[in-house]
Symmetry: C2
Subunit: 321 residues, 2 copies
């Protein structure tokens, strides 16, 4: 990975093939945060500290450390009960342990301690590192001749969209879904902002719901028991082109996590992908109100599959595994 740069909100930078760079904003932590629309003074003060202290210290530490392998960290995280989208607790502490010696060498005592305290207090500290890596992987996939593979999924609270290998820069969209979220006790469905965020890029590369059997803690929190998680993965296997050989579910004796959503398989089976979804309050600034397993709208996948039929280069439909 390349490091951290800090224009106004500091971002993690991952360098992929062909000098392509991917970015993801450093995670601000739980509670009120800019990503949930909060611009409280406390949020802005923290962002300024993140720009002025956290980002440069982390950047220096990353450059001083042995090369970080984000894929290794995610693979280890899955063996430690994270699905590396909505649960990152073990992966975050593994990243902290790797960087801590260089953080100490990159800052004065006060800043180093503050950076380590912030990191240890944020169970999603790893998330933007994973997101930038996922974007890098998915972007590389987008340039490959594997037509029909979903290479991005994102949602802005109004529309959900996907990009598909072989179909260029076009986004195939549908109204953002609400799903059946598990809400924190004080909230109701009326508070829920439809699906929003760019962290679904992790699901695109086989994390999140596609690795749900790896993370029983998040799975049970959203009301999906081990048996149901296994059933979900069976469904996802029917719409993906291969099995993940790098990300392994800890309790399986053989690789079994589904990888590579193909819009043509989605269209043939009529099975919509599902994703793990953190849910924001409808009013900006209120923060997170719950989480859940959200079934995506079928239309963008069907539309992309139709579009592929009209592109001359479209190859034979792969069989799902």
């Amino acid at each position: 990975m390349a490091g951290i740069i800090s224009p106004s909100t500091p971002v993690v930078v991952v360098e992929g093939p062909n000098d392509r760079r991917s970015f993801s904003p450093l995670n601000e932590g739980l509670g009120k945060a800019l990503r949930f629309g909060s611009t409280d003074e406390a949020v802005l003060t923290r962002l300024r500290w993140m720009s002025k202290v956290l980002a440069p210290v982390l950047n220096a530490a990353i450059r001083l450390s042995p090369e970080l392998s984000l894929v290794d960290l995610m693979a280890s995280g899955l063996r430690r009960g994270d699905e590396c989208h909505n649960r990152n607790v073990a992966t975050s502490t593994a990243l902290i342990a790797q960087l801590a010696p260089s953080i100490v060498r990159s800052a004065d005592t006060g800043d180093a301690a503050a950076v380590l305290e912030f990191a240890a207090g944020n169970p999603h500290f790893f998330l933007p590192f994973g997101m930038a890596a996922a974007k890098s992987i998915a972007d590389a996939q987008h340039t490959m001749p594997d037509l029909g593979l979903v290479t991005a999924m994102a949602s802005n609270g109004h529309e959900f969209g996907i990009r598909v290998a072989g179909l260029g820069d076009r986004w195939f969209t549908a109204p953002a879904p609400i799903g059946e979220p598990r809400l924190f006790p004080e909230y109701s469905l009326a508070d829920v902002q439809p699906m929003m965020g760019d962290s679904f890029i992790t699901e695109t590369i086989g994390l999140g719901a596609f690795a749900l059997t790896a993370a029983p803690a998040i799975s049970s929190w959203i009301g999906v028991g081990p048996a149901q998680a296994a059933v979900l993965l069976d469904e996802m296997r029917a719409i993906t082109v291969t099995t993940n050989t790098r990300f392994l579910s800890p309790f399986s004796e053989t690789p079994d996590l589904p990888l590579g959503i193909d819009v043509r398989l989605v269209a043939r089976r009529g099975i919509a992908p599902a994703v793990n979804n953190g849910i924001a309050h409808r009013r900006g600034g209120e923060g997170q109100v719950g989480a859940g397993l959200t079934r995506l709208p079928l239309d963008p996948f069907l539309e992309a599959a139709e579009e592929l039929k009209t592109t001359a280069a479209s190859g034979p439909l792969p069989s799902s595994h």
Copy 2:
């Protein structure tokens, strides 16, 4: 916990009820180590550094940090794929993340960085913290009126022994077993030192083999697949008095890990407890040659059960759960 003291080999100190203190030597890391009988110059140099730098820095950091809950760390570790005896990778990074800010504040840059580097490079960094906590818990149990509970298990390479609640300080012993270890490729059974070590105290409080379903990575390394691990736990349930409500297997929807070996249940069922076992070379100083699931000799348990019959205070035999 109380901190670290450093006579010649530094030890973790845990304070239990009634001012009782428990100790466990800081772990030296993988490879050649004093605990495997090595007194190489490199081993001695590291021990001196551990006494002069590591121990005082850790001790100061522990005193500066919010109170460490070792039981919480072990419980979280089990949710992250450790069984906290032969696998401590996630628990170690969680401990590092908690202590890192205070380590920075407790030492100069060079020492803080060296301590954090040593900790991150040692996948068993947490083990002595867990062992001292386990000893504290087991010692407290030894003073309770739960007659028949096994409150210590240890082995010195010649004899394996147990202590039992209600039977005072007596050790019930048998020749140390060899079991059927998984050896590293370069070694054969002729190299194996019979069972040796004091880390079996963790098994006494429900870690290790008694939490085997929590740690598929170590389980599969020693040749025990998920289905076999579940069968083993069924056996262990038949010789224990309760189910662990604090240590949970990540993939179970309800508490299911067995806790509290009762020598009378062992005698009634004829089932010997099993433990996870790191295996040393027969020649001191050669280091570790393998690991395995080792079935303990029945005799000490049978002998203790007989002895209990003759003690007036012996209560009714509990039913296993």
